[in-house]
């Protein structure tokens, strides 16, 4: 499949059409993450319009989107950029393109769910900080949380933990 066809397939899956966007910028104007993104939602649509799939997949925009839907909400043409971003993320991952920090977090998160059936917040933050090499991030809050027992180092797994792990296993296999 050519890059162009792949792009069109992503767009179709996301139910977004290049021609729907006339680049008014209302999306990027309201996007809370716009300041940090390389393209922002409008820029991403521009990439799609000029057929530059590579730029989309390699952008940090797709990893920084918080999925808050402010862009779609205000878009005069109802362009669902978050849906496109979701598809772009999957395609990027299929190609092994990743943003290191997001990848570390997401994988740690899912491992935590696999092991406990739930999200072990402390373990997640701790492991993330180790793998992402950000040892001091949020650590100032730890003493308070320990003192007030807001985090429990000894979270017990739920009964159906193995069931959840198998569920994830099956779902992942389905994707392949």
């Amino acid at each position: 499949m050519t890059e162009h066809e792949t792009l069109n397939e992503l767009m179709e899956k996301a139910d977004v059409r290049q021609y729907d966007c006339y680049q008014c910028g209302k999306c990027s104007g309201g996007c809370p993450m716009s300041d940090a993104m390389d393209f922002g939602p409008r820029g991403l649509m521009r990439c799609a319009q000029v057929g530059s799939l590579g730029r989309i997949l390699n952008s940090d925009t797709i990893w920084l989107c918080t999925g808050c839907h402010a862009c779609v909400e205000r878009c005069p043409h109802d362009v669902n950029v978050p849906a496109l971003i979701e598809e772009a993320r999957y395609e990027a991952m299929r190609r092994g393109i990743k943003r290191h920090d997001s990848d570390v977090l997401n994988k740690t998160f899912v491992s935590s769910v696999r092991t406990f059936g739930r999200n072990h917040e402390m373990l997640l933050a701790g492991l993330y900080n180790v793998f992402a090499m950000k040892p001091i991030q949020d650590m100032a809050s730890v003493p308070h949380m320990m003192k007030k027992k807001l985090i429990n180092p000894l979270l017990k797994p739920i009964h159906g933990t193995s069931e959840v792990a198998e569920l994830i296993e099956r779902a992942e296999r389905w994707d392949k």
């Binding site: 993450m33 808050c68 997001s102 933050a125 807001l150 779902a171």
Partner: protein, 319 residues
């Protein structure tokens, strides 16, 4: 007595401790029965669906199917905006997308039809009857307490899922807060994203989101911020000193030392307490600070609250 199948969400067991206590108190007082879905698991927000659409659907589907099996007549309620979004999306996809339903049932190994609704606390508290019940349950009221109601993005958007009419200026929480005598302020960040989803993996990029929310709430004269989601709650609260310090350093033109600014206690004049709406309701319904473990908050709340009772005697009782 109204009953709901209840999905507490992972934060309920840890960081959202006081909110969880308040939820129990409020729903107990209102006679609303929240039946915890047995052996529920994490919905996966937001990492699971980022990694895989199927995993993102499968995780929420397990407790939802569980609830459907056990309590086929009950709607599902959750107190966390992230969980709400994931559960709602799964519910909606299974209903409207045949292929999605096929995959979910296949992976789950059991039927799931998404017959019931997924709701959040604001949905179930803003009904006419519930509002009256809240009013009847109030034991004390506030005065001169200006509150900025922060709904968070996922409680209001996307519109076709949440059904919230005015996504830019939602009213449900404001109306609830007003029942207690608190004065909701007109401010600009009710449904702006706080960036909680990326506070770990994109800390540098998302810190300004919460900082802007806090700044706007203060600029619009709010004494406290009210939330309807433990993720927003934690995000707005835990890192306040960091935001404030950073801004002050920037104003003074000094370089910022992250560790230093994190450890130093925040200036009480600069910080703003953050409470969940159920905590505010619980307090107005007579719950004491100790019972709700309000001291678990990162930003002290006791002082602001105890000064804001309409009946000054209440302040002395309120511990």
């Amino acid at each position: 007595m109204k009953r709901y199948a209840y999905f507490p969400g992972c934060a309920s067991e840890s960081t959202a401790k006081s909110t969880t206590l308040a939820n129990e108190f409020v729903f107990g007082a209102l006679g609303i029965d929240l039946i915890e879905i047995e052996d529920w698991n994490c919905c996966g927000a937001t990492s699971a669906h980022t990694l895989s659409d199927t995993v993102g659907l499968a995780l929420p589907a397990r407790p939802l199917a569980q609830a459907e099996e056990e309590w086929p007549d009950l709607d599902i309620v959750t107190g966390c905006a992230s969980c709400y979004a994931r559960l709602k999306v799964t519910n909606h996809r299974v209903r409207t997308d045949k292929e999605a339903r096929f995959i979910v049932e296949k992976v789950l190994g059991k039927p799931y039809e998404a017959k019931r609704e997924v709701l959040n606390f604001l949905d179930i508290l803003s009904g006419e009857d519930e509002r009256k019940a809240v009013e009847n349950a109030l034991l004390r009221r506030f005065k001169n307490l200006k509150v900025a109601c922060y709904y968070g993005c996922l409680n209001v958007r996307p519109a076709e899922l949440t059904g919230v009419e005015d996504r830019e200026n939602p009213q449900a929480m404001d109306e609830l807060a007003a029942l207690t005598g608190a004065e909701p302020v007109d401010w600009g960040f009710k449904s702006e994203c706080c960036g909680a989803a990326h506070q770990n993996d994109a800390a540098f990029e998302t810190r300004p989101l919460a900082a802007r929310i806090i700044e706007n709430a203060r600029a619009c004269g709010a004494d406290i911020i009210l939330t309807a989601c433990p993720m927003c709650q934690l995000n707005l609260e835990m890192r306040q000193s960091e935001y404030i310090r950073k801004r002050e350093d920037k104003l003074r033109g000094k370089p910022s030392f992250p560790l230093f600014s994190m450890v130093l206690p925040p200036d009480p004049n600069e910080t703003i307490p953050v409470l969940s709406i159920t905590e505010l309701l619980a307090i107005a319904m007579g719950a004491g600070g100790r019972r709700l473990e309000l001291d678990a908050h990162f930003v002290p709340v006791g002082n602001v609250i105890s000064k804001a009772f309409r009946d000054e005697n209440e302040s002395e009782v309120f511990i």
